[in-house]
Amino acid sequence: MSRMRDIRTRPLSVSADWNKSLEEYKVVSVYRRTVNLEDTDGRRCTLITEQEDFSSRTALVESLPVAEEGSFVSVAAEDAKIGYNPSLQAAGICKKWRPLILEWQSFLADDDLAVLADVWDGVNWRPLVGLGPGLTPAGDDFIYGRLAAHMRLFEDDDSVVSDFRRDYRRGSTSKLAEGFYDDLLARKIWKRGRALLDALAANDAQRVLDAVKCLIDWGHSSGRAWLAGFAFGAGEVL
């Protein structure tokens, strides 16, 4: 396979966990506003063009390199600023937000998420893994949201998180989605989710509504599924 080392991109900023010493990445998938790469350790890294799309191992570029899946690109990040810290700190959620947060459980009533509503029994996440619509299956988005709520409340794994950590079987969902599980269990969160947590912590109503809108607008169903899972998780611990 030819290595097209002459496709080189210099990010404007990177997430705090971007490995600046690595330079060569294989292009895995190309989308309208992001490109997913794989580093030499086989981990997903992503090039983005919009700030809101920051997550773990993410680099913000001016414009996406024109490269095909399977080709190679060089990402020179040595001078890039840190644009986002994906670390998920436990901080609690003020109880006053509970009624608003619980509303998001009703996204499960949306037609495209009915498949999740059919299997979710309030406890057992197993049937949701890899289930449903979306490039990352909506069931996984739901579980990310639920786990994020628990991890926000407690520094150490509570029973829900440790139950997942113990019983998740590798290969039950897409590689991409599984990678997000790995990141989350390493206490890393995407910016959209982080924005909501920060807004709740700041008790800033408008920021909360803006953050919710940003999540709802994400993908086709991913954002709503995440919010629904977050709402169930929060309902369990608040």
């Binding site: 459980q105 009703s106 499960l108 009533a109 509503a117 029994d121 309030g122 406890v123 369990e236």
Partner: protein, 60 residues
């Protein structure tokens, strides 16, 4: 008894006609519009969600 709202001015929660909410905003009235649906909508699904919510709290 004094109606404080007459001194404070209205701070609205708006249910129903969204145009009223838009007009409130145009006048600078603090307002939140509720995307309200009657209780019977998706009754069985909502009931299920309600039970899940209660059940979840017990399980932890």
């Amino acid at each position: 008894m004094s109606l404080r709202i007459l001194k404070e001015g209205p701070k609205v929660i708006n249910f129903g006609i969204e145009a009223f909410y838009e007009d409130q905003k145009k006048q600078g009235v603090p307002s939140v519009h509720v995307d309200w649906k009657p209780p019977m909508m998706n009754a069985s699904l909502m009931e299920k969600l309600r039970k899940l919510q209660q059940g979840g709290k017990k399980k932890i």
